[in-house]
Amino acid sequence: MSHRAQMPAPEPPFAPVPADPSGTHGPISVSVEGLRVCRRGVAVLANISCNIPQGRITGLLGPSGSGKTTFMRALVGVQKITAGTLTVLGRPAGDPQNRHDVGYVTQAASVYRDLSVLENVNYFGSVHGSSRQDAKAVLASVGLSVLANRKARNLSGGEFSRVSLACALVGKPALLVLDEPTVGLDPVLRADLWAQFAAMAEEGTTLLISSHVMEEASHCQTLLLLREGLLLAQLTPDQLRQRGETDDLELAFLRLIQGTPTETAEVASAAEGEDAR
């Protein structure tokens, strides 16, 4: 680990927050203002405001329990919110029209285990009015064509979650919300998926992808960092590296979420100790 050597030496620990934290100037797909979600009197999300740029991959990162899933559910319109305004694709979140245009893949793969792969994709396609051909094309795009007639319950974990993804892709969503889509996948498959996400973004699809694995952040164009229901920062991976004063996104994130300067120093010295070993 040599990232310490590359650190610019005596500068202030944090760079100033950039004027446009999304790091983009393009059109906005989702705009969130003062979003607050309370569950049983406890704030799960507290006063979140951010913009999600169109046709980009936005990473939603934070530790377990930081509110990532709740945030995604709110965008999709399946989460009751306490306060705030969510504008998704120009309409309020949960607007019936958005059900055509927003694809949501939950963390646990939600497909019918007793149906074949093709039957699953067909059914979710049919509720969007797409054809059998569309279903087959989507299966090809996620590399599941050969397994089309296999029952979902007989698939491996990675194949299973790709079926879940295919069921969202078949509706050709303009906004795709993916809750930890790469968890439990092998490195080859992860790389494949990220390449596919990049291709989709290229074609104009907006993607919001949550993860708690920071190395995945490098695949995103803009990052939302959540911690305990608070949006810590919205920045690009480069800005995160700058602010954390390291090329290691994991370490940069740790430094950022552990907030106070003394804690940051502790993390730094701990890392130093590791380096020495």
Partner: protein
Amino acid sequence: MNPSMLWSTCTRVLLQLRSDPRSIALILVVPAVLLALVYWLYQNETLAPGMPRTFDRVGLMMLGIFPFVVMFLLTSITMLRERTSGTLERLLSTPLHKADLLFGYALAFSIMAAAQALVATGTAYWVFGMAIAGNAGWVVLISVLTAVLGVALGLLCSAFAHTEFQAVQFMPVVVIPQILLCGLFVARDQMNSVLEVISNVLPLSYAVDGLQQVAQSSSPTSQLVWDLVVVAAFVLAGLLLASLTLRRRTA
């Protein structure tokens, strides 16, 4: 409501069922086998001349009760799996209308119920020589209707269960009291007044009463029509209440 979404939901449910031979056997074979059991139970009874066999009375009621029980069980578990597997939440984030989902379920299980009613009624008539005054078509119709009643109540009850174990617990709470009070064991007008009043608000009582009407008269009576209307109203009310339990937005 969108007919094509309703139909694709119906075919999806049937496809799921196809991959589960045990459930198909439960629907098609088990009622006929239980009916045979009832037949043999009364095989050795001695009858005064001109008296109808007990099987003609009890077996006929069973043609209304079995479909209700079987479909209640199947539907509540299937719908609960839909809720717990996350597919329901996913469906509710798509353009699919709640009515398309519920009526898709109801239609799929009604198709199975019709097949079940044909098998069970056919067994009762041709194998065990059931003799009643009315037309067998009414018996099939009432069987299908009680099966759909089971579907509607099952869809509704699944909303109040968190696990499959809890869903099964609704059997003794929702189903068995209806069997006890429907007139199978004691005629409803001979019950004490409290039980009679309770029996009057339970839908299965009307289905069983309808079957008794068919048994007694060769042409449909007005009470039979009334019984059918009441059961159909319970089915619609059940589906309507079930649709209220499907929330697109949850806490």
